[in-house]
């Protein structure tokens, strides 16, 4: 289905930024404050570096096998049995992530916006949007991501700038009073937020290859890190770290403090737009990755036929996955290793095996 599909570097960048910034910017200020209090910004920078490291694993794999996605790389490096098993696990992981994102998407609206509309409706909207985007193809939703990128970046920047008069920079002091190492106890959750960029392992072989691809990818992580940093900084400077830690969605509380011309307030609608758009892109990329992975794993001729059953499966998964937001939040924090395993550890292991097999040198000679 996706034979000659190509996306540009800028589109890759947009997809990465949108998929990594959406959820994290909502939770980050609260979740990170629990680990590092007013030094959350430091944790974000450390997480950004981890994200760049994670990115290079996939870029290195792509450099070795420019025409293969992660699923095919597994089969190639580890053989049909072990590789196939791992590939299957990753397809399940992609599906699982889609379901997580979908559930997050629904929860946000129920809690922050409107509890009247039932959860299933929100789930249905999310999965229909994603399935529709996947049915129109990678190129279509990558183009949309370019528009969405601007909406999101300007919306976030706008929010932080409008609040500038209400910041208390003194809330950030003292800086790193407990040393450099202690705040790093929360590095794994931050790394998993940025690790959401792992979907690119299924996409890099579709990117129109230029010398700048790596630069754009690193640029994407940088943009996410900066936006995340701004979100954490403004929440800390606005509420103080201890209060920020108590909010479910500190960014929403942040927006509720905006008041323009002494009359216009409640800019929550802007956040709805940002959240729907970013979730849309994230659901689409992961659903696309699931379908693509399934197609490669089972050598499907018409993966399109599997889109509807797959989406229905993800809907059911999302609905019965957890009972509520608290369980979701706890899982993200306590079981972050689960995500990190798939995002970084296994791909890094496979990369090392590929190096040991000598595939890297072949690629270098070829290049």
């Amino acid at each position: 289905m996706e034979r000659q599909v190509t996306i540009s570097n800028f589109q890759l960048m947009s997809l990465i930024v949108i998929s990594t910034i959406g959820a994290s910017s909502l939770y980050a200020p609260a979740a990170l404050a629990r680990y590092a209090e007013r030094n959350s910004w430091y944790l974000v920078i450390a997480g950004g570096l981890a994200g760049i490291l994670n990115m290079f694993v996939f870029l290195a794999l792509n450099r070795m096998y420019p025409d293969k996605n992660l699923i095919r790389i597994f089969k190639h490096v580890l053989g049909p049995w072990l590789g196939g098993l791992l590939a299957f696990a990753f397809v399940c992981y992609f599906m699982d992530i889609t379901a997580w994102v979908l559930r997050e998407f629904a929860h946000f609206f129920i809690i922050a916006l409107n509890p009247i509309i039932p959860q299933s409706w929100y789930l249905a909207v999310g999965v229909i949007m994603g399935a529709y985007a996947v049915s129109r193809g990678l190129e279509a939703f990558s183009r949309v991501s370019e528009i969405v990128l601007f909406v999101i970046v300007f919306a976030f920047l706008g929010i932080y700038i409008v609040l500038i008069s209400q910041y208390h920079p003194e809330y950030l002091l003292p800086v790193l009073e407990n040393g450099w190492l202690e705040p790093l106890s929360g590095i794994v959750p931050v790394a998993t937020w940025l690790g959401d960029l792992m979907f690119i392992s299924m996409m890099l072989n579709h990117v129109r290859r230029t010398k700048k691809t790596a630069a754009f990818a690193v640029g994407a992580v940088t943009i996410t890190t900066v936006l995340l940093l701004l979100s954490v900084l403004s929440c800390t400077m606005m509420f103080g770290a201890k209060t920020a830690a108590t909010f479910t969605y500190p960014s929403v509380s942040l927006i509720q403090n905006i008041r323009l011309f002494r009359y216009i307030e409640r800019f929550d609608a802007a956040l709805v737009a940002v959240w729907v758009m970013s979730s849309f892109i994230k659901i689409s990329v992961y659903l696309w990755a699931t379908l693509q992975g399934l197609a490669d794993l089972m050598k499907l001729e018409k993966p399109r036929l599997f889109l509807v059953p797959l989406s229905a499966g993800i809907y059911v998964c999302a609905k019965f996955k957890i009972w509520g937001l608290i369980e979701l939040g706890t899982f993200y924090e306590k079981q972050a290793w689960f995500f990190y395993l798939f995002q970084f550890v296994i791909p890094a292991l496979v990369l090392s095996i590929a190096w040991l097999r000598g595939d890297g040198q072949k690629a270098e000679v070829g290049a």
């Binding site: 409706w121 949309v144 009359y263 409640r266």
Partner: protein
Amino acid sequence: MNRGQTEFKEDLRASVGILKELMQHSDDLVFIDRELASGEPIKIAYVHGLTDDRKLEYLLAKAKEFGDADFPFGSDDRLSTAEQAADCLAAGQAVLLFSDPPGAAAIDVLGVQLRGVEEPSSESTVKGPRSGFTESLTNNLALVRYFCPSPQLKVQHRKIGRLSRTNIAVLSVAGVTNPRILEELHLRLDEITTDLLLGSTTIEEWIADNRGTMFPLLESTERPDRVVGALMDGRIAVMVQGTPFVVLLPFVFLQAFQVGEDYSWNYYIGSMLRLLRIFCGLIGMLLPAFYVATITFHHELVPTALLQSIAAAKEPVPFPAVVESFAMMFAFEIMREAGVRMPKQIGQAVSIVGALILGQAAVEAGIVSPIMVIVAALTGICTFTLPPTAMNYAIRLLQFGMTFLASILGYVGVVAGIVVLLTYLASLRSFGVPYLGPAAPFNALELTDVVIRRPATWNVKRPTLFRAVNPYRFRGGDK
């Protein structure tokens, strides 16, 4: 229309018989006897009423002076079969039948009463050229040549329609237009198998990349200046005999908000008007949806004082906002359609009765709230600012869909609708050009030329979107 291979006979009467047979013994077919300078008898055939009297009289009077192979009227053509001769007769040419050797030739004597060049009613302008195309292909070509007297302007004629044999002309600029797009166009024109080609819309539907979409994938215009501008961007124009609408391709979404007049004003004004139209397009599509979503689900987002006045106005109305909204939007569409179909003088009466009396009465009767009337009126007026193309209708249809989504899911539904719409638009292409370009794929420089109107001196390059062969309008060095 007749693809047989009937030869002409030595006996002129036999040839006449064949032609009559082919023309279904039509009563308006006329045959006149004449002799050439050599004394050879010939027959001149034409269809009565389709000819220009002066040209015909000249032909009849001069026939005696003709040699075997000189014909004074241009567009002359030796015909080898009777079927070709019948095609020519039907197209308004006179056919000369010879007996020695048997054969025929066609001479253009077409003369049909058509209207002259007028200001196009669908694309009127305050400032800027006022001539518009007519129904005559020849005149239309002449107009374009007049506006762009360049030897690089290339015209390719074709006939389409198995029965109608409609003349069409494909216009491009050699050295600017991308030959691959031109080739693709000809391939698509080859595929048209219809028997009747009437107007430009049929051709649009045949050659568009996606036939199942309500968004226009090709542009149509009545203005020669717009055609010339498009040609200079590397686009292609297709003219069809019998319609003043010229098809321009490729076409991208954001061009629907452009008007030729933008270039007749100073660039600040041009840019402001263009932004205004885009903004109005958004309001036209989304305002009722946002109103319904806010009233139904998100009252807490409205400032309290405003909410109070809305609530007071809505208090006597027994219907939910979505019903009110659909009723008003539907009524507005009816009034608009009535206004268009009615003769001009009555059209005004419809709008007065509709807008003033119906609206006022509906509010007083407590059927709709005044706020809803304001919303519907503002929405309607905003769609009037867009050029009257298929895009305008698409946006009006979308407002119903968006309002429906808003009524069940609030803002989430509206934004989800926008996202799905964007995905759909992003998946469309017009002759291979992404429909949402230059916004997605993003090109900042070209986006400034589409969303605002740049000073003419900045337009050093042509848009890359249309893949022009020569990317430069002029070299920027010698200022």
